[in-house]
């Protein structure tokens, strides 16, 4: 507030014109007018500031609300998504469980229904066709079939059903059996006779071939070829004979050598005789019976050599 009040200014301008009371009233009215105006202006400024602040706050609030809204929206979306997911999983598991339960129940129901229908059909079939009837029918059919098979197996027809024909068939069967037995016996006898003929032929062939041979050769051939077939004897006779002759020649050569060596070394009396040692079956045979079937020359040779010892 300035130091020069309106009263002082008026006193300076018109000191003698206005009284103190007038000046006081003027000052009062002036002051009242100024105060009123200043109050109005202040009021206006405050209102303006308030309006501006309101607007600013409103804008800020709008922004804040938008931010809060968007944040809440995002959060709500997330919450909704998670709830949806959770609920969807739960619903899927519930659906699967329900499906399994329904399937299981349906399966059990189906099985029981099938069983019931099957049992009902069993009872119905049993009632409509008793088991005794079926057994009887089966037996009849079975018997008929067996009889047919027997007839075909035994060749029995209407012609064979009479007693005379049957006895004739039985007699024929007996005759066939007898003929079969006889055939078996004859075959056995035939085989025995064949065997005998074979042996006789072999003996005969051996006899023919050994005729005219010396006794030792003959005995050797009979011993070697005994029990062989006639074909075998004919084929191998000459070979066996050659082998025997070769062996005999070798033996004679050995004996001659021994005899010539012994004559030079030892001079023993002729009358002294020692017991002959028989070493082999062949030598035994050759020395036992020199007079009959054996070779006399060979025997004399052997004995002559032995008497020197």
């Amino acid at each position: 507030m300035s130091n020069n009040s309106i009263t002082d200014q008026l006193k300076q301008v018109a000191d003698n014109v206005l009284t103190e009371e007038t000046l006081a009233s003027i000052e009062q009215s002036f002051n009242e007018a100024v105060d009123g105006k200043s109050e109005e202006l202040a009021q206006l400024r405050v209102e303006k500031a308030l309006v501006e602040q309101d607007e600013e706050h409103a804008i800020k609030l709008e922004k804040l609300l938008e931010a809060i809204d968007s944040d809440h929206t995002k959060k709500l979306h997330k919450v909704i998504q998670s709830i949806d997911k959770n609920h969807a999983q739960k619903l899927i598991s519930i659906v699967e469980k329900c499906k399994n339960e329904v399937d299981q129940d349906a399966g059990v129901f189906k099985e029981s229904l099938v069983d019931n229908i099957s049992n009902y059909l069993d009872l119905y079939v049993e009632k409509a066709m008793p088991i005794q009837d079926v057994q009887e029918a089966v037996k009849n059919k079975h018997a008929v079939r067996i009889l047919e098979n027997l007839r075909s197996a035994l060749s029995i027809d209407h012609a064979l059903t009479s007693e005379q024909v049957r006895s004739a068939v039985i007699d024929g069967k007996r005759q066939i059996d007898e003929a079969q037995d006889q055939t078996a016996k004859l075959q056995e006898e035939n085989s025995i006779l064949k065997e005998r003929v074979k042996k006789k032929n072999a003996t005969l062939a051996l006899e023919e071939l050994t005729t005219g041979l010396p006794a030792s050769k003959k005995r050797h051939m009979e011993k070697v070829l005994a029990g062989k077939s006639s074909e075998f004897i004919k084929e191998n006779f000459q070979y066996t004979l050659d082998m025997f002759e070769k062996t005999e020649v070798d033996k004679l050569g050995v004996l001659k050598e021994q005899a010539t060596e012994g004559r030079k070394l030892i001079d023993r009396p002729v009358g002294e005789q020692e017991e002959v040692v028989q070493e082999s079956v062949e030598e035994q045979i050759a020395q036992t019976n020199p007079g009959g079937l054996q070779d006399q020359h060979l025997f004399n040779n052997y004995m002559g050599e032995l008497t020197k010892w």
Binding site: V114, S118, D122, V125, K139, H142
Partner: protein, 58 residues
């Protein structure tokens, strides 16, 4: 062989019969019902088939 395995075709026929019955396909249902009954009769005859007529057993 168990009874269930023995009646497997029979059960299948009954199931098919029920299926066709549910679909109101009565001709097919009748066919499978016939098959089931034939099967039952066959089993029944088969059960008494192995007999020896030369024995006195009843």
């Amino acid at each position: 062989m168990s009874n269930t395995e023995q009646n497997k075709p029979e059960r299948k026929n009954i199931t098919t019969f029920l299926k066709h019955l549910g679909e109101e396909n009565y001709a097919e249902a009748n066919k499978y019902l016939k098959k089931t009954i034939e099967n039952k009769l066959f089993n029944k005859i088969k059960g008494v088939k192995d007999i020896n007529i030369f024995t006195n057993e009843q």
